[in-house]
Symmetry: C2
Subunit: 125 residues, 2 copies
């Protein structure tokens, strides 16, 4: 006889109430994040899921004064200016970069605490 004591979702479709189904999913385990929270966190990782955007963060972080303008970023990435602006906007929308317009230039800098907040999204899974 073969015993499997972990999975109770097998076999024919079960008839469960919503409450029973909810309880069924975590047998004596810790509660997991819900779908809304997962979407919030995924939106941040989506912003990080591109090599050019990671390089943008890295260059901005390592730049003199902790800030850089678009014209300083197009050349090292070997990308067109519209593409760099597009990536920067995604990083700003994700709350990772801060944008400050001074005269004709737009200076981008790391949002203080953004990296720590992002690592927290992973550690608290």
């Amino acid at each position: 006889m073969y015993v499997h004591n972990g999975c109770m979702n097998s076999g024919q479709t079960l008839e469960l109430t919503a409450v029973e189904a909810e309880a069924c999913c975590e047998p004596s385990g810790q509660p997991s994040i819900d779908d809304y929270e997962a979407q919030l966190r995924a939106s941040v990782f989506k912003a990080l899921a591109d090599p050019n955007r990671l390089r943008l963060l890295s260059i901005v972080k390592g730049s003199e004064g902790g800030e850089a303008c678009v014209c300083d970023l197009t050349e090292p990435l070997n990308l067109g200016q519209p593409t760099v602006s597009h990536h920067l906007k995604i990083l700003v929308d994700a709350g990772l970069l801060h944008r400050e317009k001074r005269g004709t230039w737009a200076y981008y800098s790391l949002v203080p605490g953004a990296i720590e907040r992002t690592t927290g999204l992973l550690e608290s899974l």
Copy 2:
């Protein structure tokens, strides 16, 4: 007169050697990650850039014994079994989940230290 002392990539196209161009990109700043390193790190964040995969990690982490099989994961995510298997494969390939086949079942668990290694990818940008 308007002075801008940060950007030297403006104006007409400059004639630079490769070495000069490299040095130009980081005026007195820290070195940034190269394209290869950026692609490696982005591949991990790509795996995290989906709400359902974040929920998979969360459920596996919070499960009894720290492991769960596919049939325990399809229902809470409200996804088909092939889709869940697909997401799990992506998480395994990213080095975040470990897969162990026991009998007919496949048990997934967090790779020890994977979360810490991933947060390190952010902190060391």
